[in-house]
């Protein structure tokens, strides 16, 4: 299972990657903005997308809309991990096609629970 982490902060990508590896996920891809993420998604098969919101070139919301418009990724689980903690933002993201939403800072436990919720492997 390929998980793509999209965040312009290398620190954040590393934190998320670390948490995922501790949960046993091995195939982790990275991109530093929405545009680069889309390039990765065109060349590799991505099964789960974890994306930040505020990024240069193409932000997370634009990426989600682009991904959802593609037949191939219409049902792919998407989690948004962002500092945007407003109700309006959460609704906007959900309407765009995000399956779950995490506000930074988060604990590895929260990431685990949200991940399990979107891929339906409740333990």
């Amino acid at each position: 299972m390929n998980i793509l982490i999209v965040d312009d902060s290398s620190t954040m990508r590393r934190i998320i990657k670390n948490s995922l590896m501790n949960l046993g996920y091995k195939n982790i891809l990275e991109a530093e903005d929405g545009a680069l993420a889309w390039e990765v998604m065109l060349s590799e098969e991505v099964n789960i997308l974890i994306t930040d919101w505020n990024m240069p070139n193409m932000n997370g919301l634009e990426l989600v809309k682009k991904v959802r418009a593609d037949e191939k990724y219409i049902d792919m689980p998407i989690i948004m991990v962002t500092t945007e903690g407003g109700k309006t933002e959460v609704i906007t993201a959900l309407k765009a096609g995000v399956n779950n939403y995490i506000v930074k800072p988060f604990t590895p436990q929260v990431l685990k629970e949200k991940l399990e919720a979107v891929i339906g492997i409740q333990k």
Partner: protein, 237 residues
């Protein structure tokens, strides 16, 4: 800066050093102004010149970039600590297993030879060692917990970066707005220069007409011109 670079500067003529080859003439002028300027928070005037050190957005961008670099280095160190503690954990576990088998052997020997004090003593020692290893293993577990916690806390680097970005965006928006608000149709270098003293100003340096006449008299300029002074010798031609 490396020691070699430092030595090279020490060996060169300080006056000939180009501190920043990429600087524009304008920037160089501002930086020269800074040399005679000392930032004093108790004084409202003069404000700091917009030199390299004082350009706020530049400084904040540098802070963002450097903190990201330092966070990466910190992460590398935490990864190294985590990897070393895992190695230690494995070594201690292997050592514990060895001592455990020795301990089991000593237990049997102690039962078989109850009069041999040495077996009982060695059994005690091995059990003490196992307890010490267990204690070390739980401390390593604690270290691993702290490492994970430190890694999670590093999310604040990104949160703080975004707070800085927000401030920078506000400043840039204000700056663009002010520029647009004060925009003129005439280029600045084609504009009429400002008068220093205008009638109606409250200023000790302002003069009345009498003062002007007096000044002219002082400079001997109020003498009426003679016709001969303004008409050349060969007449009006």
């Amino acid at each position: 800066m490396t020691q070699e670079e430092l030595d090279s500067i020490m060996d060169s003529d300080i006056d000939e050093l180009d501190l920043d080859g990429t600087q524009s003439e304008e920037q160089r002028q501002y930086d020269n102004m800074t040399k005679s300027y000392t930032l004093d928070p108790t004084k409202a005037w003069p404000p700091p010149p917009p030199s390299s050190e004082n350009k706020v957005v530049h400084q904040l961008d540098d802070v963002t970039k450097e903190s990201e670099e330092k966070a990466t280095q910190l992460f590398d160190m935490l990864d190294a600590i985590s990897s070393i503690s895992m190695d230690v954990q494995e070594e201690l576990t292997a050592t514990k297993e060895s001592i455990n088998s020795i301990s089991k052997l000593l237990e049997k020997l102690t039962v078989k030879f109850p009069d041999m004090e040495i077996f009982a003593n060695e059994l005690n020692k091995s059990q003490t060692s196992i307890s010490a290893i267990d204690s070390s293993l739980s401390k390593i577990e604690e270290v691993n917990g702290y490492v994970m916690e430190a890694m999670d806390t590093m999310q604040y680097q990104d949160i703080h970066r975004q707070k800085i970005e927000r401030v920078v965006n506000i400043m840039r928006t204000l700056s663009n707005y002010m520029n647009k608000l004060f925009e003129g149709r005439i280029d600045d270098d084609k504009r009429v220069s400002s008068a220093k003293h205008i009638h109606g100003d409250e200023n000790d340096n302002l003069v009345e007409d009498d003062d002007i006449e007096a000044l002219i008299a002082t400079f001997g300029k109020n003498k009426p011109y003679l016709l001969a002074d303004i008409i050349p010798e060969n007449g009006l031609g």
